[in-house]
Symmetry: C2
Subunit: 327 residues, 2 copies
């Protein structure tokens, strides 16, 4: 019997975040066969970050006992405004990037075709493709992490709009004149519920003399706080953290009601690091507030749920993109 | 030479507003051959309003020396959540309507096919069809009047979403915890820039002792104030009215930036009674604020302008609907 020829039918999906780079190796059937993680280090500048992405991809492939020759393509989601056609990252406030040629630089380093998209567009695509059995026509994904972003699926396809920038829901102003956002505006959804804004609010309250178990857990300067620490604090009965998280959940519910009023999606999927860590605490408030603020008739039979893909939504969607583009 | 046979190729477009009913008789080429106007009187209840719509249509047709037999169909836009398939008005806060069977009741009174839609969806469709020479793929219409609403055109078609309710941009919360809206929520776009909210803010300032020429123009109780009065007051150098209108323009700019960030349309058309009356005062602020708040890259080459259809956008779009549905 002839030996089975080595398949080169793999793709790599990359999720480029403000904090970490995650790369996953996938089969064409979207089965993940291996993952790798590396810190982003955006403070070292775009070139270094792109080299780190390349390293993260190469190590992921090697870890799976594969070679780059067996990879058909790489999909990558970046946190900001991405021109998917040219492969440029137009604006990514959490990386400090403006007009960075991600696709071409990464293609040179890997010698593989690279396909770029906004990170949360890909998260939405990942949820749509692997998590939903009956495919809705119109779906919305909302992802809360270091940044806050969304992905819009209309008629079963990722909707990108005229400038290919649609889905920037994190910079929807919902509290005009409110806290300053990384984008420079005031009162954006992201400035109210993004990870940094939650941490900042907790730190400010602590400076103002309020008490929290987080200082016992992490030290008085609250360095290296993570979303999971907030969950642990709430489980220990911490009222300060509970209030901050509940406020964030309420703002998220208002933002989702806005999007339901505007879009009328059938499905609203939530995800991202904050939801992964705090779904139990946040989801009931998010859903109740969203239904409360949605106009009568607009949220009928609309399903609002937390994705179970967790941290893998981004790499899964990036793999879907790479599969579709290399077929 | 044989006499030209009487054509029955007309349609009627109706714009049902919180204050007035406007009906226009149109040819299939969307030329308006006559119009009629009647006050809505929503306080008398839905049945009376629907009878008034019927009367307004009949008088418009008669005024054009036509008969109802020459009308192929009637399109009507209602201010709220409309289920275009069943023809029911699900929720229209400015009329006080919930779940009213507009289509069937009006069809009985007129003995003509009636097609319903959300009013501002039809305004957007009207602008798209008759005002734009090169048709954009993705367009957004935002209309400020008694209520505030929008219409979304994606891939050249009116986008209505899963519950057929898309485009309710007036109830996008942009100032959480802000002024109360007719829908019951706080801080909606409509609660900040709708006609009633502008009038209310002016009246409150006057009660607080601030001065305005409006009291000289309209009497101290400011009864029967109209959008045009605000323009006249600003032209007379009235600082109070100018501030209220400028604030409204800024909120409108923020709302439009939100929609550009979310949707990435190619065209944003503004209209409605407030824009018709105050375009010169508001549009520069709206455009500047929208471009300021839109994420870099999202508003590139996006055209933001005030529709010149004015009050006729609604009846024109309703006529487009009737033409399309009866072809």
């Amino acid at each position: 019997m002839a030996a089975i020829a080595p398949t080169n039918n793999y793709v790599v999906g990359v999720d480029l975040g403000g904090t970490k780079i995650l790369a996953g190796v996938f089969t064409q059937q979207l089965k993940c066969v291996g993952k790798n993680k590396l810190s982003t280090k955006p403070e070292r500048g775009p070139r270094t970050v792109i080299e780190r992405i390349s390293r993260c991809v190469k190590e992921a492939v090697e870890e799976c006992n594969l070679t780059l020759e067996q990879i058909k393509g790489v999909g990558i989601g970046a946190p900001g405004v991405v021109d998917a056609e040219s492969g440029r990252v137009v604006f990514a406030p959490n990386l400090g990037w403006r007009n960075i040629d991600l696709k071409n630089q990464l293609e040179s380093l890997l010698d593989l075709p690279v396909f770029t998209e906004n990170d949360t567009n890909l998260c939405a695509l990942g949820v749509y493709q692997v998590e939903l059995e009956s495919k809705p026509r119109h779906m919305l994904g909302v992802f809360l992490g270091t940044g806050v972003g969304g992905g819009i699926i209309i008629d079963g396809k990722l909707y990108s709009g005229f400038n290919k920038t649609a889905g920037e829901v994190g910079h929807m102003v919902i509290a005009a004149g409110g806290p300053k956002c990384s984008c420079g505006n005031l009162g954006c959804f992201e400035a109210l519920v993004g990870r940094q804004s939650l941490f900042h609010r907790i730190k400010t309250k602590v400076k103002d003399g309020e008490k929290t178990v987080l200082t016992e857990m992490l030290g008085s300067d609250l360095e290296d706080m993570r979303s999971g620490d907030l969950r642990k604090a709430i489980q220990k009965g911490d009222k300060l953290v509970q209030k901050v998280v509940e406020d964030a959940a309420e703002y998220t519910g208002i933002a989702i009601a806005n999007l339901i009023n505007i879009f009328s999606p059938e499905i609203v999927a939530l995800g991202g690091g904050i939801i992964d860590a705090l779904a139990k605490e946040m989801m009931p408030i998010i859903v109740e507030t969203a239904r409360d603020y949605a106009m009568p008739g607009t949220d009928k039979e609309v399903r609002i749920f937390a994705s179970e893909l967790g941290d893998d939504a981004g790499i899964t969607g990036a793999a879907v993109l790479a599969c579709r583009q290399t077929q």
